[in-house]
Symmetry: C3
Subunit: 139 residues, 3 copies
């Protein structure tokens, strides 16, 4: 077994910006040359999260709406600590979670047809983001 | 180290149907012959999720109730995209998350006594489901 | 590649007690002697969860508040099953999730500057807790 570590970087708009990173993962999987194994995907930073969803514009809007309802922007103790306004961003990111692990076989990620790997930026502003990616498996 | 990939398949009823897959994982762990390592478990499809819980009928009812409260069925933009009615199913699945990873040692999953690995089907109908399972470890 | 399994143990206060376990993970990473790989971290037991956050007192208070709002203590079917009062603890733990996976490279966890790995004890009382930790990688 071998290991291949890389980083996916991109610019986000913030405010529950949902980014489909599946094509980048597919590219890196082919680059790794591995046939069978798994990939660990985790957000670097505490206001972003990684999960899967059907990536289509309607659902992306629904994400914004449901998080605005469940954990709305507003007063949080965190905001007093630093004088910033992203307490809700932190809570949302911790709830969704920073990492997922997806297996692959025959050089193909074992995802559903309508299932993409997404990074969600919950922060309140545009940011340059990094997602750590590690493929572990066999040729 | 070696890798063993398999799939667990089953039929669900949908609507926050909670399925205990721990016995199937235990069987596959014995079949793999591995002593120490970990297993990646991830839902194939974007309206199912994997997590752990104490699997007992009361808590299974509580899951249905809390998700009906937090992310109720109803109007979502996703529903307009496809003309279906499972926007809430997608949001619930992305929030819980598609994957977990559990370690094992001495051929035993390192879970608590009252902790089972469950697949939750949030879709609105009965479906045939697949969970991708990969054991990585040493004999 | 090799594997190193260990356990992190500590006492919690319960009631959404957030424990920063990053320093313990760093110690074990150095002890493992590995350079490149990943660490699986998962909660043993069904009322604790693992995620990442910026570990600072304001945000810790916000965690308690948001979970008291989203999944308040009170009546749950689970409580009738066992005659206990921690139905909300179970639901919160399953929602956040039991496990995360974090990669490392050059003997350093690939976390953000303000991102710590935390265990959250959602149970209603002080408990002795175990988090299973497994490092997999190369020297």
């Amino acid at each position: 077994m071998s290991v291949y570590t890389d980083t996916i970087s991109f610019r986000t708009k913030g405010n529950t910006d949902v980014i489909d990173i599946t094509p980048r993962l597919d590219e890196l999987l082919q680059k790794s040359g591995m046939r069978e194994g798994f990939v660990v995907i985790h957000a670097v930073g505490s206001t972003g999260a990684v999960t899967t969803c059907e990536y289509e514009p309607g659902l992306v809007r629904d994400f914004k709406d449901i998080f605005d309802k469940l954990i709305p922007p507003g007063h949080y103790s965190h905001n007093e600590t630093w004088g910033d306004a992203n307490g809700h961003s932190h809570l949302r990111a911790s709830l969704v979670g920073p990492s997922i692990t997806v297996t692959f076989n025959n050089k193909r990620l074992l995802l559903g047809t309508w299932q993409q790997v997404v990074f969600i930026d919950f922060d309140t502003r545009s940011r340059q983001r990094e997602v750590a990616v590690q493929f572990v498996g066999e040729q």
